[in-house]
């Protein structure tokens, strides 16, 4: 594995780990981080979150990362991985620490 790939994986792993903690803490989920698959759907089937959970999750992530997440782009909220995609793209665009 080359160093560039290693760096990508390290960044992704850090963001995913932190996001799972935010998810569990914000929604008071009875889950451990390794019980959440990164691509699992957060709403509907999957983790079965609802619109109230969505609001709490947005507040939790915005507090954690001191950022603003658009509420009208549903594709961001599909899974832990899609949330991580958004946060990592923000970091690239702004040079923020995610």
């Amino acid at each position: 594995m080359n160093s560039r790939m290693e760096a990508v994986i390290t960044r992704r792993r850090e963001v995913i780990g932190r996001l799972k903690q935010v998810l569990i803490r914000s929604l008071d989920l009875e889950l451990e981080p390794d019980e959440i698959a990164e691509d699992a759907q957060l709403f509907g089937l999957g983790l079965g979150l609802d619109s109230v959970d969505a609001l709490q999750l947005v507040v939790g992530i915005e507090d954690e990362y001191n950022c603003c997440i658009p509420s009208d782009n549903i594709s961001i909220y599909y899974s832990v991985n899609t949330l991580a995609d958004f946060l990592l793209a923000q970091r690239e665009n702004k040079g923020d620490d995610v």
Binding site: M1, M5, V8, I9, R12, R13, I16, E30, L31, E32, D34, E35, I36, A37, E38, D39, A40, Q41, G44, L45, G46, L47, G48, I74, S75, Y78, S79, N81, T82, A84, D85, L88
Partner: protein, 372 residues
């Protein structure tokens, strides 16, 4: 059950309608299934942009009644059925004692009874599990061949419900179901699909299925009749679990990313010890989505490489009509199983560049269409 199958005219409940449209049929576990009707592009576009109807009467359908029904199903599935509300369904897994996936099943909680449904290819496996574990006071009725299942899927599928069922139908929440009538026919309507679009399943007496199709066509003349084949791609694009494609080497539920179908707090179910051991040991490989950015359709079970090193293998693959690229799900060594890295994977034209990506591969139209 085998003799019943042989005796019955076990074929699509919409056979005549399919035949009239020139459908290609194939036998799937003894069931004459329409594989393709008007062509892959037309069927795909119908479900992705408007509305498609698929006969799913091949599904296994079992009703569990009597004392002990809850205990039976609770022991046989990895999800929690005890907490299931009336008129709700749980999509979960049946495992064997060493934690391998026997079937993915939908369990419906229906007024002191439970209905278990599954893909037709898994019907015998589910039947054997139910029979093998049932106490004498549990009655298991296999009504697979008496009832049709008709799937209505697409970003505007809810308009059909509005006309045939009324506002109660369109207010049905995901993973819930209701009983209703269409004319004089009793139907069970479930909001459950696997394409990422709005999806509903009508369960009704088999003989009433052709009339349902006629009524749907009266509401919307542009409805397209679809075969089984197009669903492999529709499911792959949104990473809906596909038993026949996603676990080619008997991978575990956690390796396949199906954590959400398991209740880790549940004290007992068949396969629990193996699942917990898999979890505590840590995964050696994980299923990840890859998108190709060079031409070539990925080869099932083909290798995935980092330079010269083999780091995984392709499980489920296809060519996405929406994003116009080869896509696949591949098992990668755990250290590589992260989104955002570039690898190579085998295609019919040789190894080609691909990137690990989040799934689904795109946001479906239904995520942008509001049920009115």
């Amino acid at each position: 059950m085998t003799s019943e199958k042989q005796a019955a005219r076990w074929c699509s409940a919409l056979y005549d309608a399919y035949k009239a449209e020139g459908a290609h049929f194939a036998s799937v576990e003894g069931y004459q299934t329409a594989m393709q009707v008007s062509g892959p592009a037309k069927e795909y576009n119908a479900i992705r942009s408007h509305l498609g109807i698929t006969d799913r009467s091949d599904m296994g359908k079992f009703r569990l009644s009597g004392n002990g029904s809850l205990e039976l199903i609770q022991e046989l599935v990895a999800g929690n059925v005890d907490s299931l509300a009336e008129n709700a369904l749980r999509y979960t897994l049946m495992l064997d004692s060493v934690g391998r996936i026997v079937a993915d099943v939908q369990v419906y909680c229906d007024f002191n009874e439970y209905i278990v449904t599954c893909d037709g290819t898994l019907r015998d496996a589910v039947w054997e599990r139910l029979q093998g574990h049932a106490e004498s006071n549990v009655v298991i009725d296999d009504f697979s061949e008496r009832y049709a299942a008709v799937a209505v899927e697409g970003p505007y599928s809810w308009r059909i419900l509005q006309q045939l069922i009324g506002t109660e139908g369109i207010s049905l929440r995901p993973a819930n179901f209701m009983h209703s009538n269409i004319g004089e026919t009793d139907v069970m309507l479930s909001r459950f699909g696997s394409t990422g679009e709005y999806g509903y399943l009508f369960f009704l007496p088999r003989d009433a299925a052709p009339a349902l199709l006629r009524q749907i066509r009266e509401v919307d003349s542009e409805v397209v009749l679809c075969g089984r084949k197009v669903h492999d791609l529709l499911r792959l694009e949104v990473r809906s679990f596909n038993f026949a494609q996603d676990i080619p080497r008997g991978e575990t539920p956690l390796q396949a990313g199906l954590h959400w179908m398991i209740d880790f707090r549940k004290k007992s179910f068949v396969g629990r010890d193996a699942v917990m051991e898999d979890k505590s040991r840590g995964l050696d490989k994980k299923l990840v989505a890859l998108k190709f950015f060079e031409d070539g359709e990925p080869t099932p079970l083909g290798g995935v490489y980092d330079g010269p090193n083999l780091v995984g293998y392709v499980a489920n693959s296809g060519y996405s009509r929406r994003i116009r690229a080869g896509v696949c799900l591949a098992y990668l060594n755990a250290v590589y199983a992260w989104v955002g890295i570039e690898l190579k994977a085998d295609t019919k034209a040789g190894p080609r560049r691909a990137k690990t990506v989040s799934s689904p591969f795109f946001a479906t139209k239904s995520t942008k269409v509001q049920i009115a």
